[in-house]
């Protein structure tokens, strides 16, 4: 830019010649220069502002676009790393003691409808009813045409059904994935497992919640996603459980019983190898809660049912009396009947003469003899002993049903109560309680806590009776099978010992039924070194092969228990004791 002089000489001279003030020219030029300068600066500033405006516009536009994008997209966390293996929202499996599956999961689909998306509602309804005959066409159509925007049609459908629904081709019929609990063995161990159902439900997934049994007890652990890969191992043995269930079901039918229960337990560790309650149910299709109480198939007779267990309790009175040094197996005790105590009379099933030894009282199951032993012990000591055997509190078996099953402990422990409890009346407990107490008596006197979990290591329980008393009791109970009330319990090769118990069922209107009993056989084998305890209970059995129906445990529960031992013991890996030279040839057989 050329800089113009403020006082151009030509004009100054010109002005001087005319007599004008030359300063005016200078001022005029200065003004023009300032104006020029101002215009230039303004243009520059405007240009800058424009550039700035463009920048701001770009900035705002970008922020705006980003905000719009964020608002309209699924939120995702920015990350520099990926999570390790995607965790399936799965419930952990349940396996038996040898790792065979008892409960697992299967992915299926649920079917739902969104009526606003549907095209031909009438046809869809008609086709759906063809696939699912239990649906009601009119109701479906009413729901489709109603105001609802969403409705469940089926909670669980099979892949074939899903394909069939696909073939209808209606865009308003949609599927959500569903995790389903599957019990591949059907009814096997149904009461132990309990069953599962859906909890909170969404379109994408549903919570699987344990309803009963171990599924409920370990619900939190089974649902823990961190532990989904490690299965819950139970102490149940699938093969043994199947064999016991089959034999017991056959026995129940043969003895015309209303229900039956069996508990097979390791005598030392308390691990329950088999726990059966009949009638049973299919946990895949749990029956609706129509029947209540002990009539319902879900009712676990082995765990929930507390019954008076009858003469099986005599063993406890005898064991305590021997432990306290009051009697020895050979001590004679008066059994002259009927025994009068106040206004009560105690009778025996048949008359045993004036006196019996303690051993014979157990072998022949004398109520009077046991009542006398209970009197010798006194109420206080008897209570302490039964409490130590676990009859005062629910068992700690890992099932909600077991923890709710509290034995019925007599309120006031008078002498007559002491006597009746001695032979098993007046105190009700479950078959599991009985199995635990028998385990304690025969395993050398160490307290047994029944459990459904495999115990890798276990601490020996407190000593309830001495090893010596335990040995005497084992021999006594072996005699019961050899020459006493449980003679049908003999299984060649396995020295079975045990005690029968036949208790009249209490009538809810008061008193006892004459013709309804609970027959129990509590047994253990092999007798000299007991490994397993088996308790079999039949509810209202009646053996009708004779002239009169026979209901005593010796005729009903004992043969069933013997058959269970015959079938289960080889499966448990117990080799029978073979007498020398009994068998000559060996046939090839495999398990």
């Amino acid at each position: 830019m050329t800089r113009l002089p403020l006082r151009p000489l030509a004009r100054i001279l010109d002005a001087r010649a005319k007599g004008e003030n030359p300063d005016v020219i200078e001022r005029e030029n200065l003004r023009l220069r300032h104006e020029n300068e101002r215009d230039r600066l303004r243009a520059q500033a405007e240009g800058r502002l424009l550039v700035l405006a463009v920048f701001f516009l770009c900035g705002f536009a970008m922020i705006g676009l980003r905000m719009g994008h964020l608002a309209n997209s699924e939120p995702a966390e920015p990350r520099a790393a990926t999570t390790t293996a995607k965790i399936l929202a799965a419930r952990a499996d349940i396996v038996d003691r040898k790792g065979r599956i008892l409960a697992t999961n299967l992915t299926t689909h649920s079917l739902y409808a969104q009526p606003p998306l549907m095209i031909d509602k009438a046809r869809a309804a008609a086709e759906l009813v063809k696939i699912f005959p239990d649906l009601d066409e009119e109701r479906l159509l009413k729901d489709f045409n109603g105001a609802r925007k969403f409705l469940w049609i089926k909670r669980r459908i099979s892949p074939e059904q899903q394909q069939a629904v696909h073939d209808i081709g209606d865009p308003g019929l949609l599927y959500g994935p569903r995790e389903m609990r599957l019990y591949p063995n059907g009814r096997l161990a149904a009461h132990v497992l309990g069953g599962a159902g859906f909890g909170r439900e969404g379109v994408r997934s549903a919570e699987v919640v344990g309803r009963a049994g171990v599924e409920r007890e370990f619900d939190a652990a089974l649902r823990d996603p961190g532990r989904a890969r490690e299965p819950l191992q139970l102490s149940i043995d699938l093969t043994v459980q199947a064999a016991v269930e089959r034999v017991l079901a056959g026995g129940m039918r043969l003895m015309n019983a209303k229900g039956a229960a069996a508990v097979l337990m390791d005598a030392k560790t308390g691990e329950i190898v088999s726990l059966v309650s009949l009638p049973d149910f299919d946990p895949n299709e749990p029956p609706s809660n129509g029947a209540r109480g002990d009539a319902a198939p879900q009712f676990n007779r082995a765990v929930q049912g507390v019954y008076e267990l009858g003469s099986t309790f005599k063993v406890f009175a005898a064991a305590q009396a021997i432990e306290e040094g009051l009697v020895s197996p050979g001590t004679w005790i008066e059994t002259e009947g009927p025994m009068k105590w106040g206004r009560h009379r105690i009778r025996d099933f048949r008359d045993h003469g004036p006196a019996l030894t303690v051993e014979d009282i157990i072998v022949k199951s004398s109520n009077i003899g046991t009542a006398r032993m209970a009197l010798m012990l006194g109420a206080e000591r008897q209570q302490v002993f039964l409490e130590r055997l676990g009859f005062r509190s629910p068992t700690r078996l890992e099932m909600p049903e077991a923890q709710a099953a509290r034995p019925l402990w007599p309120g006031k422990w008078s002498e007559i109560v002491s006597m009746t409890v001695g032979y098993g009346h007046g105190l009700s407990a479950s078959a599991t309680h009985l199995a635990a107490a028998y385990g304690t008596i025969v395993n050398g006197g160490r307290k047994v806590e029944p459990t459904l979990l495999v115990r890798d290591s276990f601490a020996q329980g407190e000593a309830v009776i001495s090893e010596r008393t335990s040995k005497i009791m084992r021999k006594m109970m072996r005699e019961v099978v050899v020459r006493g009330t449980a003679s049908f319990g003999e299984v060649p090769g396995y020295a079975v010992g045990g005690k029968t118990g036949t208790a009249d069922k209490p009538d809810p209107r008061g008193g006892y039924y004459d013709d309804k009993v609970i027959a129990t056989f509590a047994s253990f084998f092999p007798a000299d070194e007991p490994e397993y305890v088996l308790v079999v209970t039949l509810d209202e059995p009646e053996e009708t092969s004779g002239k009169e129906p026979r209901r005593t445990a010796g005729w009903t529960a004992v043969p069933v228990a013997a058959e269970i031992i015959r079938r289960a013991a080889p499966l448990l890996g117990l080799a029978p004791e073979i007498e020398d030279g009994a068998a000559v040839g060996v046939t090839l057989a495999a398990n």
């Binding site: 995607k86 599957l182 199947a242 299984v491 090769g493 029978p576």
Partner: protein, 117 residues
């Protein structure tokens, strides 16, 4: 000198930027790969689960019992009973194996010299 310093730092910045850019994309790629693999693992696990469930369904004791009953003629399977156990000394020794040579052969050779003392 100053110009050289500016140019080298500019080049260094550009180089680092290119490196970071490429690393970023490689990381993204690796993440995608890991995700695809873990999705595959999940689906394989699911398949495995289904197969396990099917296996235990096919091996349920009830079905095996029925199959054993149906095929009794061919297999003769019975429940294991106590009298199926035997002792080891009840099993007779198997007869000694015969020599693998069953017919006569002409043998050509020298008769070994009798040992002398």
């Amino acid at each position: 000198m100053r110009a050289f310093f500016y140019v080298t730092s500019l080049l260094a910045v550009m180089g680092l930027a290119i490196w970071a850019y490429r690393e970023n994309y490689r990381t993204q790629e690796a993440i995608r790969e890991v995700e695809a693999t873990s999705a595959e693992i999940a689906s394989l696990r699911e398949t495995l689960n289904v197969l396990k469930a099917e296996w235990s369904y096919l091996n349920r004791p009830e079905r095996l019992r029925e199959l054993a009953d149906m095929n009794f003629d061919r297999l003769g399977l019975l429940p294991l009973r106590p009298d199926h156990f035997g002792r080891i000394d009840q099993v007779s020794f198997p007869p000694p194996d015969r020599l693998p040579i069953t017919r006569a052969w002409d043998v050509v050779g020298e008769k070994p010299a009798e040992e002398t003392e």
